[in-house]
């Protein structure tokens, strides 16, 4: 079956603009995660969804970051008023509700803020 898909694969934006990143999880996976990977850094947890609700938003770096999930499927990560330090690869992962530790990742969106 299809894996996790993300779009766009690459996004270049000017500082101050808003961006939307999309994640389409594996069908049947109720849990969805967003991570960020900066150059030379490990994956940094951003937010976790179980169904459409986000019980853990503790990793969002600032109030410029928000995420939503609709229909228990597609999720969108929005970054408002982008800053250069937002440049990173944004990775989405999904898992079954009873195997949250076994996460399957998408290819990521490379965001460059100029």
């Amino acid at each position: 079956g299809a894996g996790v898909s993300q779009s766009p694969s690459n996004k270049v934006t000017e500082k101050g603009k808003d961006v939307e990143l999309r994640c389409d999880p594996i069908s049947g996976h109720t849990a969805l995660y967003w991570y960020r990977q900066s150059l030379g850094q490990g994956l940094e947890f951003l937010i976790y969804f179980q169904g459409n609700s986000a019980p853990d938003k503790s990793g969002l770096p600032s109030d410029r970051f928000s995420a939503e999930r609709t229909g228990g499927s597609v999720s969108t990560l929005t970054i408002q008023r982008t800053q250069q330090e937002d440049s990173a690869v944004y990775l989405c992962a999904s898992s079954l509700w009873d195997r949250l530790y076994e996460q399957y990742f998408g290819p990521g969106t490379r965001l460059t803020v100029t």
């Binding site: 995660y33 490990g42 947890f45 853990d56 949250l100 530790y101 399957y104 990742f105 290819p107 990521g108």
Partner: protein, 112 residues
């Protein structure tokens, strides 16, 4: 907070040898410890998971050990091949927090 240490220097080995990568963590022992492979420009790919009450897990040429006393996991690739060249990430999952905490990864280079 939990810290995970992986050797930041690349590991260079010859084809056919066994590669051994190390993951050390501080603080609490996780419910699960996992290893992922990441190729350039791609997302991490899940390889193996070991539970806190397990000492060793094997899958084909891969072997993971887990020592909760030493707070360390070792990841072995036997009969290594150039296609095994990638970055390998260690990740911990703690029940109740519902998220993975990743190390920065170790790059493995297998020469023909």
């Amino acid at each position: 907070s939990q810290k995970i240490e992986q050797n930041s220097e690349a590991l260079n080995i010859q084809e056919g040898k066994t590669a051994t990568l190390t993951c050390n963590y501080t603080n609490y022992s996780p419910a699960y410890l996992q290893w992922y492979r990441q190729d350039p420009g791609r997302g991490p790919v899940f390889l193996l998971l070991i539970r806190e009450n397990e000492k060793e897990k094997r899958k084909e040429r891969l072997k993971v050990t887990f020592d909760t006393t030493l707070k360390q996991s070792l990841f072995h690739i036997t009969a290594s091949q150039p296609a095994d060249s990638a970055t390998y990430l260690c990740a911990l999952f703690r029940g109740g927090f519902q998220k993975l905490v990743f190390g920065t990864g170790t790059r493995l280079l297998v020469s023909p």
